[in-house]
């Protein structure tokens, strides 16, 4: 319930109840506490943590970000404080300030064994930190396989999923990389291996060359593209994956306004994540929640009626003006 709205925004996903379908994406919200002077994070559907490895990582040399047409590139290099530091220094604040919003812990590793180990530790501390679900970031190089991006390789993805699924009963979401010709085989694989849902999409590979130095601009060379240019890509894959699997989809990519989130919901996502938009406007996620509530009020609809509606046969005689948020 939001801003006097009558709409019920609550949604069930992977056996967890979320008070609304608007989450904030990994890597765009820190560990939550950076927002304590900005807004009340308990209003969100969920906070997804920055990707946590077992131990801390420094990340890549600067420059780490670049503005490009339609968004930005980042090559942060998975800088993070590590799982134990998160549990000790960040989780207590979240435990106190986040509910009724849910905590989704995003994890990754350099090898399948590291994924298993960090998942095991999150599972063991799930009550202590208040973890409602685990999200796997599989857009990481596997150091044992010559740095192949796990999320671009079905065999490596299966290996990671099996290791993780074997050690945790936490609801498990797999965050898919869009740097593949087809995401459907990855989504099917996730379903086969017992994942409770998929979140999509992560960033797209990108590069920008500095005309002065005549070299790649970012310190790392390439980076990940995020921002508004991802919207149609993410909506497309949400629509395609929704046709192919039964596990729920969390839509990510280019969401800055309620209109963007509504596209994902209509394409079949049960929840969405606001990402890069929070950099420009830290209040973007709250504005998306309020905008969805207004849309549902105006159209006297339930959220459930909206989810996946784009897959139904096109109705006749819907006036264009009815689409307004």
């Amino acid at each position: 319930m939001s801003g006097g709205s009558a709409a019920n925004l609550a949604v069930e996903l992977a056996g967890v109840r979320f008070q609304n379908p608007v989450w904030v994406a990994s890597g765009t919200f820190g560990y939550g506490d950076d927002f304590q002077t900005i807004f009340d994070v308990s209003r969100l559907g969920a906070v997804v943590t920055k990707t946590l490895f077992l131990g801390p990582r420094d990340g890549n040399p600067p420059p780490r970000i670049a503005e490009v047409g339609g968004g930005m590139l980042n090559s942060i290099g998975l800088a993070n404080i590590g799982w134990e530091a998160f549990r000790e220094r960040k989780a207590p604040w979240l435990r106190q300030h986040l509910p009724p919003a849910q905590l989704v812990v995003n994890v990754a590793g350099n090898t399948a064994e590291e994924y298993r180990e960090v998942a095991l530790r999150v599972d063991a501390a799930r009550a202590e930190v208040g973890a409602a679900a685990l999200e796997l970031n599989i857009s990481c190089p596997n150091v044992n396989e010559g740095g192949t991006n796990i999320g671009c390789d079905l065999r490596l993805t299966r290996e990671v999923l099996r290791e993780v699924r074997a050690v945790t009963s936490l609801p498990l979401l797999v965050k898919l990389s869009p740097n593949n010709a087809d995401l459907v085989p990855f989504a099917r694989l996730a379903e086969e291996e017992g994942a409770d849902g998929v979140s999509l999409i992560n960033t797209l590979y990108g590069m920008t060359v500095d005309l002065h130095s005549r070299r790649p601009f970012l310190g790392h060379g390439s980076g990940g593209l995020s921002g508004p240019s991802l919207l149609p890509v993410g909506v497309f894959w949400t629509y395609k994956v929704h046709q192919a699997v039964r596990i729920p989809i969390v839509g990510i990519g280019g969401i800055a306004r309620a209109e963007d989130a509504l596209q994902y919901l209509m394409a079949g996502a049960r929840a969405v994540q606001v990402g890069t938009a929070s950099f420009l406007n830290p209040f973007a996620s709250l504005e998306v929640i309020d905008g969805i509530a207004r849309f549902l009020d105006r159209h006297r609809m339930d959220l459930e009626e909206l989810i996946g509606v784009a897959h139904e046969r096109r109705p006749q005689n819907v006036p264009a003006a009815a689409a307004a948020v």
Binding site: G30, N74, I76, P282, L286
Partner: protein
């Protein structure tokens, strides 16, 4: 895109007063005092003060009252002309008015320099750690390289408001006479202004670090506290000289920033391993004003 350091206004333009307020839709969401707010403001004044630099004035009393010297704002235009906002040190904040010093050297800053009085902007902040006001010295020596002049208007103003105000000297380096910010030598808070230009067309020939060397050689830095702001290369050169003298100092640095409050992790500055367990500081939170001994100046990633 560059972390543009901001400067201040000493001669407010004719007021075209549009009250600042919070962005509609985020109203009432702003946290307790001291928190971050997104303020809608119309450009209230615009003065060209150099070949490619301008003062931009905004009448935003609530925000202006919360600015500490050395803090910065993330500044955007509406409708957005750039995807990301740009970081600006606040050049001055007094009498309900915030002033930024803009230098146009990229697409975003060029577009910003073309905005007219009344055009809508977004000001997000204030962010970052500013200069210390609790470490008094008899003499405050400010070393400014180019647009690095920005934070020294407000710093000088606030130092002069202290019960025992220090002498405030400004050493200001620019490329040439055309680039020198007009009127800086008339700012009342500066007791002495030493101007340097690379081509010698104004002041002395040389740069701001040459000015520091001259003061050091004359023994005029004894008991002084140093405040510096400018490009990485200037600060790196200055640090070599300063370390030798041991003058206490604070440096306001710049780096590309996506958000301004720690979440994008873009503004990594290499940390001095002698003083830090981590490889990088995030400038938006650890800075932008840094203890220079905490920075690894020789890092190859620094420009």
């Amino acid at each position: 895109m560059g972390a543009q350091k901001a400067g201040a206004a000493h001669e407010p333009a004719a007021p075209t007063c549009v009250p600042g307020g919070q962005i509609p839709g985020s109203g009432g969401r702003n946290p307790a005092p001291g928190g971050v707010s997104l303020t809608h403001a119309a450009l209230a004044g615009r003065e060209r003060v150099g070949l490619d630099s301008w003062f931009l004035h905004f009448d935003v009393p609530e925000l202006a009252s919360r600015i500490l010297p050395g803090q910065f704002l993330m500044v955007g235009m509406r409708p957005p002309a750039t995807f990301l906002k740009r970081p600006f040190s606040v050049a001055d904040a007094a009498d309900g008015r915030i002033t930024l010093l803009l230098r146009s050297y990229g697409e975003g800053t060029l577009e910003m320099s073309r905005r007219r009085i009344g055009d809508p902007f977004e000001l997000l902040g204030p962010f970052g750690r500013g200069f210390r006001l609790d470490a008094p010295a008899a003499r405050a020596v400010m070393i400014a390289g180019g647009i690095g002049l920005a934070p020294f208007y407000i710093l000088a103003r606030r130092l002069k408001e202290l019960p025992t105000p220090p002498q405030v000297w400004l050493v200001y380096g620019e490329r040439s006479r055309e680039a020198v910010t007009a009127g800086v030598e008339r700012v009342l808070h500066f007791d002495r202004v030493l101007t340097y230009t690379e081509d010698g067309s104004a002041g002395e020939r040389g740069n701001a670090v040459d000015g520091f060397r001259r003061l050091a050689a004359a023994g005029e830095l004894t008991g002084a506290r140093l405040y510096a702001c400018g490009p990485h290369r200037m600060l790196e050169a200055l640090e070599v000289e300063r370390e030798r003298l041991g003058t206490p100092a604070e440096y306001s640095m710049e780096e590309r920033m996506g958000c301004g409050f720690g979440i994008c992790q873009g503004c990594a500055v290499p940390a001095n391993p002698a003083h830090s367990a981590q490889a990088y500081h995030l400038l938006c939170k650890a800075g932008p004003v840094m203890d220079p001994t905490r920075v690894l100046w020789s890092h190859p990633a620094l420009p």
